[in-house]
């Protein structure tokens, strides 16, 4: 193997915020024609490192090196100049602009001072085809699902013809099909000699795509080595610094109790004619490709969008719930997938967020009972190991801790039905495990957990039954014995799998 020169490097970079060191002397070298994995738990410093590599932040100490030469003030403009493109985890698209405009933004072709849409379409058509964007190019990005938007984001990065491409959790909102296209694309880019940095919490993807890995833990590199010969357990050990045992807790039987939900021909939004039954003490998985009506099903159950049904018994109510408050009173709680926009009031404190659903229950003489509130918040923070000052804004927390807040705020209401929409998306492994254990304990306490997940192994390891959605309908309901990744994916893709009958 010939020694290739790295295109982009960080050498002994240090970076801290408000006196907290985040990166403590990190090295990384991205070589052409290689897919380099960057692993680490949330809070390990991955995002900060990416920001340094893309010029969004400057290191306190150490160098960013492009083509072997240290760059003194590495700005976003300098990074663009150097051919570095980043596909952000936080989508950076303008919802009102079209697909073509978003991709071409910054280099829009003009004619007589106006945007030349013909030239624009022509220039972005190729890149759209590469990523499998078949939607009309003049469609507003806001009309696309999260997964499709991610593909636009990728197309936008590719449009700049980068030499270095940094992908920050690109598949977290993609369907299996889209993820497959992306994987093919990454391999092709690699073969073209582009240096790729791939950040993901999904180890199977990392194993399939990457040949080299850098592992960050608490701001230092704990491994920088070829991936060959390292298995998943080894990777997890490197990330958490201990033997992870299993990511998933051992299966526990939790006997089903009284029936809590019984639906016949339940429709809400894109969910159509769903027949569904679930009882206390069960963990029911909701699977399928992204955007097949699963989310609308949960929202309809929760009374957040209008729903209709031939027969609907939801936690004692004999018709679909009409309002979220009614759902809360009936004992339902919902944890949204998009915690930043739907789950949390980001600028407000951790305590305010934790208290929001139960404010009305902590009242003395018509006024808020501060002592009771403090006790409750302290108790919740302790139970969920949310460390530090609870008066900090919740946006100061890492993704995993934010998710814990989004979940914990419901506990004081003691809900009997938990509707969880992809609760572990973008969450670090440690927190994932904590959430899994929490779900099991909910079931043991006799709560019904309905778990919508885009991470199929979760469904396999945690659920008593899995309902697989396709085009708004439940196409298969897999009992525990028949749940496997193959069966779920097969049903989701419309491939007939064993035991699939709804």
């Amino acid at each position: 193997m010939t020694k290739t020169k790295p295109l982009l490097e960080a050498r002994q970079v240090f970076k801290g915020f408000f006196g907290n060191p985040v990166l403590k002397g990190v090295d990384i070298a991205l070589e052409p024609g290689r897919v380099h994995a960057l692993l680490g738990e949330n809070g390990a410093g991955k995002s900060t490192l990416i920001n340094l590599l893309s010029g969004a932040l400057q290191p306190d100490k150490g160098d960013i090196v492009v083509d072997g030469k240290p760059v003194s003030r590495f700005s976003p403009a300098a990074a663009r100049e150097a051919g570095i493109a980043v596909v952000q985890q936080e989508l950076s698209l303008a919802a009102e602009l079209s697909i073509a405009e978003n991709i071409g933004l910054g280099a829009l072709p003009r004619r007589f001072g106006l945007i030349d849409y013909k030239a624009l379409s022509a220039s972005v058509a190729e890149v759209c085809e590469r990523v499998g964007l078949t939607e009309p190019l003049d469609m507003p990005v806001g009309d696309l699902s999260l997964g499709r938007r991610q593909m636009v984001e990728i197309a936008k990065a590719l449009f700049r013809k980068p030499r270095v491409l940094i992908l920050d959790e690109p598949t977290s909102s993609l369907s299996a099909h889209e993820a497959g296209i992306l994987a093919g694309l990454i391999r092709k880019l690699r073969d073209e000699g582009i240096a790729l940095l791939y950040i993901s919490h999904r180890l199977n993807e990392v194993q399939a795509l990457c040949s080299h890995v850098t592992v960050l833990k608490d701001g230092v590199v704990t491994a920088d080595q070829p991936l060959a010969g390292v298995d998943d357990e080894g990777l997890v050990r490197l990330m958490v610094g201990r033997d992870a045992g299993d990511l998933f807790p051992a299966w526990q039987d939790h006997p089903a109790g009284a029936e809590l939900i019984h639906l016949k021909k339940f429709s809400a939004g894109t969910a159509l004619d769903v027949d569904f039954q679930a009882s206390a003490g069960e963990i029911i998985g909701i699977g399928g490709l992204v955007g097949q009506g699963q989310e609308d099903f949960l929202l309809g159950l929760y009374g957040a969008i209008p729903a209709s049904a031939e027969k609907a018994e939801i936690s004692g109510s004999h018709r679909p719930l009409k309002r979220v408050e009614a759902a809360n009173q009936a004992g339902l709680a919902y944890v949204p997938a998009d915690r930043k926009h739907e789950g949390l009031v980001l600028p407000h404190s951790i305590a305010s967020n934790l208290l929001l659903p139960s404010l009305g229950n902590l009242v003395k003489h018509g006024l808020r009972d501060r002592a009771a509130e403090r006790n409750l918040v302290a108790d919740l923070a302790k139970r969920l190991t949310i460390k530090g000052d609870v008066t900090r804004p919740v946006q100061a927390l890492s993704g995993g801790n934010q998710q814990k807040v989004a979940l914990a705020k419901w506990l004081p209401l003691d809900p009997s039905v938990l509707l969880l929409n992809d609760p572990t998306r973008g969450v670090d492994i440690e927190t994932k495990r904590e959430i899994y254990l929490m779900l099991q304990s909910f079931a043991r306490e006799g709560k019904l957990v309905i778990l919508l997940s885009s991470d199929t192994p979760e469904l396999v390891h945690l659920c008593d039954r899995v309902a697989v959605f396709r085009e708004g309908r439940v196409v298969a309901t897999l009992p525990r014995a028949d749940i496997s990744e193959e069966a779920i994916v097969g049903a989701a893709m419309g491939v007939s799998a064993k035991g699939a009958a709804a």
Partner: protein
């Protein structure tokens, strides 16, 4: 240094400090400014703005805005003398009726904003225009004199040397501060202002709270209208107009985010006093009304740059 820094991060405190500084400097340089009677008069004028701005603060905290407060003040000031029955010597019946009308107007604003999904800025502006047209028809452009005993007492009496209007403002302030900081409703308003979607999904009804807030805003505007009527002894078309911009400016001067989700009435209180003081200072300067308006506008802008600035993260 640290105390200074924290003051800069605390807009209500900063606004209060600014008021005190302006009062001290003006008292030392302008003859008569620092006299008790003059300062008391400034507070009396501030009370009106402060009471209108109470409702405005609540609405803005939730991410809305109420552009109909000026019109509601005028409606109250003109209708109250007309609807106060002569057989009621206390005048309380008229006051209750007038406040009922003002609250109903607010309620209608809320219905438009919550159920018809008209943006608050449009809904309340349309309401203001509608009310103004109605007043021209009802009052026909002539001033209406008030004989209602309670209203006159409110506008003229000074128990223990303190204007009744200022006492009313103190009462309003206590209630509003309790709502915002000590009641579940206040926390819900703030959460709605910062992220309505997440708040709705947490079981807080956007519709019900919108309705409640606009009704409250109508109520407080009506209360201010009654106070102004008592102070002027006359109601006429346009009497409430100056209070629209000033109520919003007082809120923003106090550090409340015009986008909602962050702020407190504790800032609006010194904000209202600061506005009135500024106006008074401009009046002292011998200038034509046109120049006075220009100076007033520029000063509001300048004050906002100093104090009510959106805190940067």
């Amino acid at each position: 240094m640290n105390a200074l820094k924290s003051a800069f991060r605390n807009p209500p405190l900063l606004t209060l400090i600014l008021v005190i500084l302006v009062w001290i400097v003006a008292s030392l340089t302008l003859r008569g400014f620092g006299a008790f009677g003059h300062l008391r008069y400034l507070l009396e004028l501030s009370a009106v703005i402060g009471i209108v701005a109470a409702g405005q603060t609540l609405v803005i905290l939730m991410g809305g805005i109420d552009l109909s407060v000026g019109a509601v003040i005028t409606v109250t000031a003109i209708l109250l003398p007309l609807i106060s029955p002569d057989i009621d010597p206390t005048g309380l019946v008229g006051i209750v009726l007038a406040l009922g009308i003002a609250s109903s107007i607010g309620f209608l604003n809320g219905v438009g904003a919550a159920y018809l999904r008209v943006p608050p800025i449009i809904m309340t502006l349309a309401m203001a225009t509608f009310l103004q047209g109605m007043l021209v028809i009802v009052a026909g452009g002539s001033a209406v004199s008030v004989t209602n005993a309670t209203v006159i007492w409110l506008g003229q009496a000074r128990p223990f040397g303190i204007p009744a209007g200022v006492l009313l403002w103190v009462a309003v302030s206590i209630v509003v501060l309790l709502i915002i900081h000590r009641m579940p409703a206040g926390a819900r308003f703030l959460a709605l202002g910062a992220n309505p979607l997440a708040t709705e999904l947490s079981g807080v009804s956007v519709k019900r709270n919108t309705l409640l807030l606009f009704t409250l805003s109508g109520f407080f505007a009506g209360l201010a209208g009654i106070l102004i009527l008592g102070m002027n002894r006359q109601g006429y078309v346009g009497i409430g107009d100056p209070y629209l911009l000033t109520s919003i400016a007082a809120v923003v001067l106090g550090g409340t985010s015009i986008l909602g989700g962050r702020g407190t009435y504790a800032g609006t209180i010194p904000g209202a006093i600061l506005l009135v003081t500024t106006t008074a200072l401009i009046t002292v300067v011998n200038a034509s009304p046109g120049w006075r308006s220009i100076m007033f506008g520029s000063l509001i802008l300048a004050l906002l740059l100093i104090s009510g600035r959106e805190a940067r993260r």
